[in-house]
């Protein structure tokens, strides 16, 4: 079984931290009241989806060399469906 290297794990951790901080910067209005903002919502959901993908791929090892196809398919479809639902509900309802 192909294994993830510790360097790769460190890079993934760094990417997750950076995405978290970017999401915080985008969504935090620095003391002013929160306002409805579709662009911020889109960015926040996109960042969360990317973070989930990184966690699944690099930490849970949901990738071709280590995980069966049916689990990879399930995880990817689940993540896409949830992201689609979140954005669909926000923009359509």
């Amino acid at each position: 079984m192909e294994t993830t290297s510790s360097k790769r794990l460190a890079m993934s951790w760094l990417a997750l931290v950076i995405l978290t901080l970017l999401g915080w910067l985008v969504s935090e209005p620095a003391g002013s009241p929160l306002m409805l903002n579709a662009k911020v919502t889109l960015l926040v959901v996109a960042a969360a989806t990317l973070k989930c993908y990184i966690i699944m791929r690099d930490f849970m090892e949901v990738k071709p060399a280590t995980t069966p196809k049916y689990i990879r398919l399930f995880c990817n479809i689940w993540l896409l469906a949830l992201t689609g639902c979140a954005l669909g509900i926000y923009f359509v309802l």
């Binding site: 978290t20 999401g23 929160l34 969360a48 930490f59 995880c75 689940w78 949830l82 979140a86 509900i89």
Partner: protein, 198 residues
């Protein structure tokens, strides 16, 4: 290659593929099932939110996003440690895996302490489970997540007990890691949907 040999090779390939899942298959079944259950919670929350966007946003205003961000970094760091522990266990290094799993548990305790602190802050400010729909969802989602985290700490304790005996059981470490990553991943979504959505 004859037809029977080809079909035999496909069967072998199918089962070889199934054997490659990191950790126990039963844990993966549980994790994937939990993903579906949490999806239902999220969709119900998002629909309720869509019906009263401004009301939810006004209530959301009272959450401490800084604590949410700190907790996310704490949990992500724990996930990194436990993924690293799985690598160490595969290399047969039980001592290194043990240290890393203990650090993961420490991240879990810090997360739980910060979450309890955050809840007490909200309750003192008058925002309880019954204050409004947003806080109802907030306490239910973060509460169910915290129960998962506490269960994860118990799973990691089993991993620690095994590693303390000097046995680098990589399958067991991977199983604990898979569960812990699920806790991490669900929190990433809770942070986005409860704290950050506008």
């Amino acid at each position: 290659m004859s037809l029977s040999a080809a079909s035999e090779s496909h069967v072998e390939e199918f089962w070889a593929d199934k054997e490659d899942v990191p950790g126990e298959k039963a844990m993966w079944l549980f994790v994937l099932g939990d993903f579906l259950i949490f999806s239902a919670y999220f969709v119900i929350y998002l629909v309720q939110r869509a019906w009263d966007k401004q009301g939810f946003l006004d209530a959301q205003q009272h959450l401490d996003i800084n604590l949410g961000i700190i907790n996310t970094i704490v949990l992500i760091t724990g996930s990194w440690f436990v993924a690293w522990a799985a690598l160490a266990a595969r290399e047969g290094n039980a001592a290194k895996a043990l240290s890393l799993v203990r650090l993961t548990m420490l991240s879990g305790f810090i997360f739980a302490a910060l979450k309890v602190f955050e809840w007490s802050k909200e309750i003192k400010a008058g925002y309880t489970f019954t204050s409004n729909d947003f806080f109802g969802f907030y306490y239910v989602l973060t509460g169910i997540h915290l129960i998962h985290l506490v269960f994860g700490l118990a799973v990691l304790q089993i991993v620690v007990a095994r590693l303390k005996k000097g046995v680098a059981d990589h399958r067991l470490v991977e199983t604990g890691a898979t569960y812990w990553h699920m806790v991490d991943l669900l929190w990433v979504l809770i942070l986005a949907f409860l704290y950050m959505l506008r």
